[in-house]
């Protein structure tokens, strides 16, 4: 029997095809990126080996790169500290109503998460459209002059508007994660807290939240990963503008390579981006793991 579960040819046949696809479409390309990041290739024609010049330039004098990372950081903060508490509170409400209704509302709140980003972006760019968007029409109801704000075009509102679209789409996920976490809380735990005289605030902060720590940390890790991966919504709405105010790293590397014809430089951004993404995820995961063990 042991030999059966240790059958090398079978293991190879099961594992290799999937691994090879991943190596082909994910690992080898990153290798290519490393190679091209050390050149000044424009995408066509001849190119020169430039060593680490691209990296030095990105890290020392590319303010757009740093702006894009700052925006990623802002998005992480907004999702972790604004989206999550709201989603958690709503999940806690939904966990207390009749299952039938709870399911109905969860389904509705989750709809944005199943729509294509193209639809979502087109939807919100139209809502925020300065001339016929419903947002301005709505605000005009409360003012004497018609409101004509270009939400995605004005420096003061562009980043906030983009983040709003991203959060609107991601909210359903956070809600569902918290809801399924709350469903795993044993009823005795809550009852015990009640018997000990804890009010709802105490029950949540002292009993339920600590119990859900593993799920909350998983949600934060997901927030970090998905904030890093944001691209299409920005690409299709502001393109990173006005200026580079709404620039995100994934959009920036794409534009550098395919629009500005700095293919080598774009690959340098790409490699730094992988390092940041994998590094940050590992750091956040590690952070939660040790904290969880202490607690």
């Amino acid at each position: 029997m042991k030999r059966l579960f240790n059958n090398k040819p079978v293991i190879a046949a099961l594992v290799l095809p999937g691994i090879l696809v991943m190596v082909f479409a994910m690992i080898i390309p990153i290798g290519f990126s490393v190679y091209y990041s050390l050149t000044n290739w424009a995408g066509i024609g001849a190119f020169k080996w430039v060593g680490f010049d691209n990296y030095v330039e990105i890290l020392t004098s590319d303010s757009t790169f740093w702006r894009s990372l700052t925006n990623v950081a802002i998005l992480i903060v907004v999702t972790v500290f604004l989206q999550n508490p709201v989603a958690f509170a709503l999940a806690a409400l939904l966990a207390r109503i009749k299952p039938r209704w709870s399911r109905f509302f969860r389904t509705i709140y989750f709809i944005p998460a199943v729509l294509s980003v193209v639809v979502i972006t087109a939807l919100w760019t139209n809502i925020m459209n300065p001339s016929f968007g419903i947002l301005n029409k709505f605000l005009s109801l409360f003012s004497t002059d018609p409101v004509t704000t270009s939400w995605l075009g004005k420096p003061a509102t562009a980043l906030g508007s983009v983040i709003w679209i991203i959060v609107w789409q991601g909210f359903g996920w956070a809600l569902l994660f918290f809801y399924s976490g709350l469903m795993t809380v044993p009823a005795e735990l809550e009852e015990a807290a009640k018997i000990d005289g804890a009010g709802w605030w105490m029950t949540y902060t002292r009993v339920i939240l600590p119990y859900l720590f593993p799920i909350i940390s998983a949600v934060v890790v997901i927030d970090v990963i998905s904030s890093l991966k944001q691209m299409e919504i920005i690409f299709l709405s502001t393109g990173g503008g006005p200026g580079d105010l709404t620039q995100f790293t994934a959009v920036y590397l794409y534009q550098k390579a395919f629009v500005a014809s700095q293919y080598g430089y774009g690959n340098g951004l790409s490699i730094l981006f992988v390092i940041v993404a994998v590094g940050l995820t590992l750091v956040v995961q590690r952070l939660f793991r040790t904290e969880g063990e202490v607690a």
Binding site: M26, I215, Y254
Partner: protein
């Protein structure tokens, strides 16, 4: 419990109900707005009124969106690509999950770790190099240029979901089958797969939705119109009919509806899958 208590409870309940309904309305309103606009004449959109229903519903907008947006061709392309990608992803992920959870070999932890790496690496870092790398094989502007990376990037999640459920299936299942002289080739699809079918369905639906909605790879690797996938129809429209907003809105509805139908049909499974993913972390 005396009377007033119950009424306080009821007021609270009513308040909660109104709050949840208002939120649901807020969530759905943008979609209703798009649907409403898709039936208007473009000229009517620019009026000052906050919300008007179309005087005469312009169903013709949908005909134009369907024909000029090449919705039929794009849908066929999307179906071909997504069905192949979902089938491949699920089979390959199931195989890896089985080998890594049920069989004993030294590297299995490493392989599972490598597979989960796919959840962390942003697909965007492969956009630039794959354009060159796929080009070497003549894959650019073919459906394979999407199927391969879709599979590569979705294997991770599917493997983790299926592996999580495989761990709860007793080993005795295979042992007795092996006693009867069955082989892996027959045991995996006939005995093991049905036992983890909830996880498989969850993996398939989540793969379907993300592949069906994927845009940036489709926009990068496909160049010819007759190969493009559905989300691109909206972009094509924004270029072609820059000022004909109502038809653009109709196009958005046409693209959104299939995903919504799948979601409503399978929402139970999707929710269950998300829960599984969340609880397993």
């Amino acid at each position: 419990m005396s009377g007033p208590w119950i009424s306080v409870k009821n007021t609270k309940k009513a308040f909660l109900g109104v709050f949840l309904a208002a939120l649901a309305f807020f969530q759905l309103f943008p979609l209703l707005w798009v649907f409403n606009y898709s039936l208007q004449k473009t000229g009517d959109l620019f009026g000052p009124a906050f919300f008007t229903l179309p005087a005469v519903p312009q169903w013709n907008n949908y005909v134009r969106a369907f024909v000029d947006g090449k919705i039929l061709q794009s849908s066929i392309n999307s179906v071909i690509i997504v069905v192949s990608a979902v089938a491949l992803t699920t089979v390959l992920a199931f195989c890896i999950a089985y080998a890594c959870t049920r069989m004993s070999w030294k590297l299995r932890k490493w392989v599972l770790g490598f597979v989960s790496l796919g959840m962390v690496i942003p697909i965007h870092v492969t956009l630039l190099p794959n354009f060159i790398w796929f080009g070497l094989f003549g894959l650019i502007d073919t459906h394979l240029s999407l199927i391969i990376p879709y599979v590569a990037f979705q294997i991770s999640f599917s493997t983790l979901v299926i592996a999580a459920q495989l761990q709860s299936v007793p080993l005795a299942m295979e042992e007795s089958a092996f006693m009867d002289g069955a082989s892996y080739r027959s045991i995996l699809p006939r005995i093991i797969a049905p036992m983890v079918s909830p996880a498989i369905v969850t993996a398939m639906i989540s793969t379907f939705l993300s592949d069906w909605n994927e845009f940036i790879m489709a926009n990068t690797y496909l160049a010819s119109d007759d190969k493009r996938t559905l989300p691109f129809s909206i972009i094509r429209f924004q270029g072609q009919y820059a000022s004909d907003y109502a038809v653009q809105f109709a196009c958005m509805v046409l693209v959104a509806v299939p995903a919504l139908i799948i979601f409503f049909l399978f929402s139970k499974w999707i929710m269950a899958g998300v829960s599984a993913g969340a609880v397993k972390g």
